[in-house]
C-alpha cells in the first residue's frame, strides 16, 4: 500500500548533522583499513622494479648483450611441444596475417595447438597489462626501444635458438642487432621507415623536391590538410629531424625547441593527430601526412573503387641520416605457459612463405633475405609510384633509430606531447 511506504522508508528519515558527521567519521576510519588491504593486495611495482639509475640505453654505437639470469633461463633443447596449447600473441590490430595462425595450427595439428590474437592500442598499454598480469600471453610484439625495460623488468625470457632455425632466412644484421646482441631475447618481425605521403591530385608541388620536406608541416598553405602520427616519439622525431637534431635528444634546449616547434605547427597547420592515415589519404580526409612505410603501402588497398593509387607518393630522405628507420620484433614473455610452442611459432613466422604472405597482409615488410627489396617494384608487388616504401637493409646502418630514452627524459617528452595534444 504505497501511502504507508513513506512511514518506513529509510530515506524518509533525514540525516541530521550529528549523524552525518558520525557516518563520515566511520567512513574516514574505514579508509585506512581499505588502504592497508589494497597495499597488501598490490604487487608494489616500486619495490619490484630496478631503479632508473641502472638504466642501459642500447644504440648502434653502444650495442648491448643483455644478461641471462640463472633464475630466468632459456628452455632446454629438444623438448616436446606442449599438447593442447593455446598460443596467445599480443600485438597491434591487423598486424598479423590470420592465415599465418591457421597454417601454424595445421602444421602442428597433432599437438592440437590453437592460436589466439589479443590486441593493444599502444605499447605503453601493453607493458602495463603485462606487468600487472592483466593479460596472459605468450608472445609480445613490441618495437626494440622497449628491450632494456623488458629485460630489466624481468618480463621476457631468453630464447633457445635450437628451435628457431629459420633465423637463417633473416637479414644478417638482424641476427646480431645492437638492441639485443646475439638475439638472446628477440627475433625481428617487421622493418619500416617513417616518411611523408601525399596525393598528387591534391598537392600540386613535388614535396620531395623541397630543400627540407619536413617543412610542409609548418606551411600554412596546408592548414587543416595534414596529419601527424599519434605516437609521441615518431611525431616529435619529425620535429627533431626537421631541425637536424638527434631524434633521441636529451638536450634540454632541444627538448624545449621541440615544444616550441610543436606549438608553431599547431598554429600554422593545425594537423590531425591519429594513426588512421592509411584510410584518411585514400578518402581525401587529409592530403598529406606523416606515415610509416607499411601504412603508405596499405593505402593502395584502401583507395575507393574507381580511384587510381597512382596519385600516391611517399618521401623518405635520400640521405637516410635524416630519416627514421625502425623495426618491430617478437619476444617470448616470461609468463608464457607454452614456451616450446611459442618458440615454434616464432620460427614459423620467419619462414619465407609465411613472412611473404604476412607482408602482403599487413603491408609491413619483413627482413627476409628472399624478399629482395630491389625486386619488389619490378615484380609488381609495390607500385612504381611508391617505390620509396621499400626498406633496404643498408638503411639500418645509416638511418636514425628510435632508442630507449632514459626515464626522466622520456617523461619530459611525454609531458610536451600532452601539451601539444591539448591544443593550447
Amino acid at each position: 500500500m504505497p501511502a504507508s511506504w513513506g512511514e518506513y522508508s529509510p530515506i524518509s528519515t533525514p540525516l541530521n548533522r550529528r549523524a552525518f558527521l558520525g557516518k563520515s567519521l566511520a567512513t574516514a576510519a574505514a579508509f585506512p583499513t581499505l588502504a592497508a588491504f589494497l597495499d597488501a593486495c598490490s604487487s608494489s611495482p616500486t619495490t619490484a622494479a630496478p631503479s632508473s639509475s641502472a638504466f642501459t640505453v642500447a644504440s648502434p654505437a653502444n650495442p648491448v648483450t643483455w644478461p641471462i639470469s640463472s633464475t630466468n633461463p632459456a628452455i632446454a633443447d629438444n623438448l616436446v611441444p606442449e599438447q593442447n596449447a593455446t598460443i596467445n600473441i599480443y600485438t597491434y590490430t591487423s598486424y598479423l596475417d590470420p592465415a599465418a595462425l591457421k597454417s601454424f595450427e595445421k602444421k602442428y595439428a597433432k599437438y592440437n595447438v590453437k592460436c589466439l590474437i589479443t590486441t593493444f592500442e599502444s605499447t605503453s598499454e601493453a607493458i602495463g597489462k603485462i606487468r600487472s598480469g592483466g593479460i596472459q600471453a605468450d608472445i609480445y610484439n613490441p618495437s626494440y626501444d622497449q628491450m632494456g625495460r623488458m629485460v630489466k623488468g624481468d618480463l621476457i625470457q631468453p630464447l633457445n635458438h635450437t628451435y628457431i632455425s629459420n633465423i637463417s632466412n633473416v637479414w644478417p644484421s638482424f641476427t646480431n642487432p645492437f638492441y639485443d646482441q646475439e638475439w638472446r631475447y628477440s627475433v625481428p618481425y617487421t622493418v619500416y621507415t617513417t616518411g611523408i605521403v601525399w596525393r598528387t591530385d591534391k598537392v600540386s608541388e613535388d614535396v620531395a623536391a623541397r630543400t627540407n620536406p619536413y617543412d610542409v608541416f609548418w606551411d600554412p598553405q596546408y592548414s587543416k590538410r595534414l596529419s601527424v602520427l599519434d605516437d609521441y616519439r615518431t611525431a616529435m622525431g619529425l620535429v627533431a629531424m626537421r631541425a637536424g637534431w638527434d631524434i633521441n635528444t636529451a638536450d634540454p634546449t632541444q627538448i624545449a625547441g621541440m615544444h616550441e616547434q610543436l606549438t608553431k605547427m599547431n598554429q600554422a597547420t593545425s594537423p590531425k593527430v591519429n594513426v588512421t592515415d592509411y584510410q584518411d589519404i585514400p578518402t581525401k580526409v587529409v592530403d598529406m601526412c606523416q606515415a610509416w612505410s607499411g601504412d603508405a603501402f596499405n593505402m593502395v588497398s584502401y583507395m575507393p573503387t574507381g580511384q587510381s593509387p597512382d596519385v600516391l607518393r611517399y618521401w623518405f630522405p635520400t640521405d637516410p641520416h635524416n630519416g627514421e628507420v625502425d623495426n618491430d620484433m617478437l619476444v617470448l614473455l616470461k609468463m608464457s605457459k607454452y614456451p616450446v610452442m611459442a618458440h615454434l611459432f616464432m620460427n614459423h613466422m620467419l619462414d619465407y612463405k609465411v613472412a611473404r604472405a604476412n607482408f602482403m597482409f599487413t603491408g609491413y615488410q619483413m627482413p627476409q633475405t628472399l624478399i629482395t627489396p630491389s625486386n619488389l617494384v619490378s615484380d609488381g608487388t609495390i607500385p612504381k609510384n611508391l617505390a620509396s616504401v621499400v626498406v633496404e637493409e643498408s638503411l639500418f646502418t645509416k638511418g636514425q633509430r628510435l632508442l630507449e630514452l632514459p626515464p626522466a627524459v622520456d617523461a619530459q617528452w611525454q609531458a610536451i606531447w600532452s601539451q601539444f595534444k591539448a591544443g593550447a
Binding site: 622494479a49 591519429n274 581525401k284
Partner: protein, 297 residues
C-alpha cells in the same frame, strides 16, 4: 516491524554494493593514482593507497596548468564547456518538439514512434560515428546532397578539424538520451490540465507557455543532465570526427594523459576536477527535485 526493516535493507543492499564496487572503490583508485607516484623504470603510475602518504605533486601540476601563461589545460576545458553548451541547446531544440509530438499526437502510434526513437541505441556509438565519417568525407553523401545533384560544386572538408562537426557529432550521438526522458515527462502531464487551461480561455501557445512548459521543467533539467554529463567526458566523438588538437576536449585531455605512462596520475587529477565540476549541476538537480517534491506535498 523488524521484518519490514530487514526487507528495506535487503532491497537496498544490491544498490549499495553496486555503488561501493563501481563508484566508491574505482574513485578511491583514481584518488590513489592522482596522489600517487611513478615507477622509476617503466614510468607507469604507482598508486599510493594510504591517504596519509599521498603526494600532491601531480594534482598541483594540473591545478597550476589550468589557467595563466602555463595553463595549457584551460583552453580545452573552456572549449569543452562551449561545445557542450551549444550541443545541449541543440539537442533540446530538436528533442523537445519530437518528444512533444509523440506524447501529444502520437496516439496509437506512440509505441512505434518510441521504438523508432530508440532505434539508434541498437547500433554502437562507435559504428554510428564511423558512419558519419563516411557521410562527411569530401566525396561523401552530405556534400553530394548539398551539391543538389551536381548543380553546385560542394567540397566542404567537414572532417578537417572544425568545431561545428564535433558539435554535430555530439548532438547526434546524445539526442536519444534526451528524447526519452522528455517524452516521459511530457507524457505524464494530465490532459485534463491542458483542457482546463483551454476552457479558461488560454490560447494553444499560452497553454503551452503557462502549463506544459513549467510542468516539464524537471524533465528538461533531467534530460539536459543526462546528455551534458557524458558529453563533458566524451573524447571519442572528437577523435573520430576531428582528431585535431585544436578541437581537443576535457575527455581528450584525460585520454591523452592515460595513453602516456608518466601522465596517468595527471589524467586522474583531471578526472577528479571534472567530477567536482559536474557535481554542481547534479546537486542543483537534486535540490530542484526535492523542492518540487516538497511543493507537491
Amino acid at each position: 516491524m523488524r521484518r519490514r526493516r530487514f526487507l528495506w535493507v535487503a532491497l537496498a543492499t544490491p544498490g549499495v554494493l553496486w555503488l561501493l564496487l563501481l563508484f566508491v572503490f574505482p574513485f578511491y583508485v583514481v584518488l590513489s593514482l592522482a596522489f600517487g607516484t611513478l615507477d622509476p623504470l617503466f614510468l607507469s603510475p604507482v598508486p599510493i593507497w594510504n591517504p596519509m602518504h599521498w603526494i600532491p605533486d601531480q594534482f598541483t601540476y594540473v591545478l597550476s596548468h589550468l589557467a595563466g601563461a602555463a595553463g595549457f589545460y584551460g583552453p580545452a576545458i573552456l572549449r569543452t564547456f562551449a561545445y557542450v553548451f551549444i550541443a545541449s541547446v541543440g539537442c533540446l531544440l530538436i528533442a523537445y518538439p519530437v518528444a512533444y509530438y509523440v506524447s501529444r499526437f502520437g496516439g496509437k502510434r506512440k509505441g512505434m514512434l518510441l521504438v523508432l526513437l530508440i532505434a539508434p541505441f541498437w547500433i554502437s556509438y562507435m559504428m554510428r560515428m564511423l558512419a558519419w565519417v563516411n557521410l562527411l568525407q569530401i566525396d561523401g553523401w552530405i556534400n553530394k546532397v548539398l551539391s543538389f545533384g551536381g548543380i553546385f560544386n560542394v567540397h566542404i572538408a567537414w572532417l578537417d578539424g572544425r568545431p561545428s562537426t564535433v558539435i554535430l557529432g555530439l548532438i547526434y550521438g546524445y539526442i536519444p538520451y534526451m528524447i526519452l526522458p522528455l517524452y516521459a515527462g511530457l507524457d505524464r502531464i494530465e490532459n485534463s490540465l491542458l483542457e482546463a487551461a483551454r476552457d479558461l480561455g488560454a490560447s494553444r501557445l499560452s497553454t503551452f507557455r503557462r502549463v506544459t512548459l513549467p510542468m516539464s521543467k524537471s524533465a528538461v533539467v533531467a534530460s539536459l543532465l543526462l546528455v551534458t554529463l557524458p558529453m563533458v567526458g566524451d573524447y571519442f566523438t572528437n577523435d573520430l570526427l576531428s582528431a585535431s588538437p585544436s578541437t581537443a576536449m576535457f575527455g581528450n585531455l584525460i585520454n591523452t594523459a592515460i595513453e602516456a605512462d608518466s601522465q596517468v596520475g595527471k589524467g586522474a587529477a583531471l578526472l577528479i576536477i571534472m567530477f567536482v565540476v559536474l557535481l554542481a549541476p547534479m546537486l542543483y538537480y537534486v535540490r530542484m527535485t526535492e523542492k518540487a517534491e516538497g511543493g507537491a506535498v
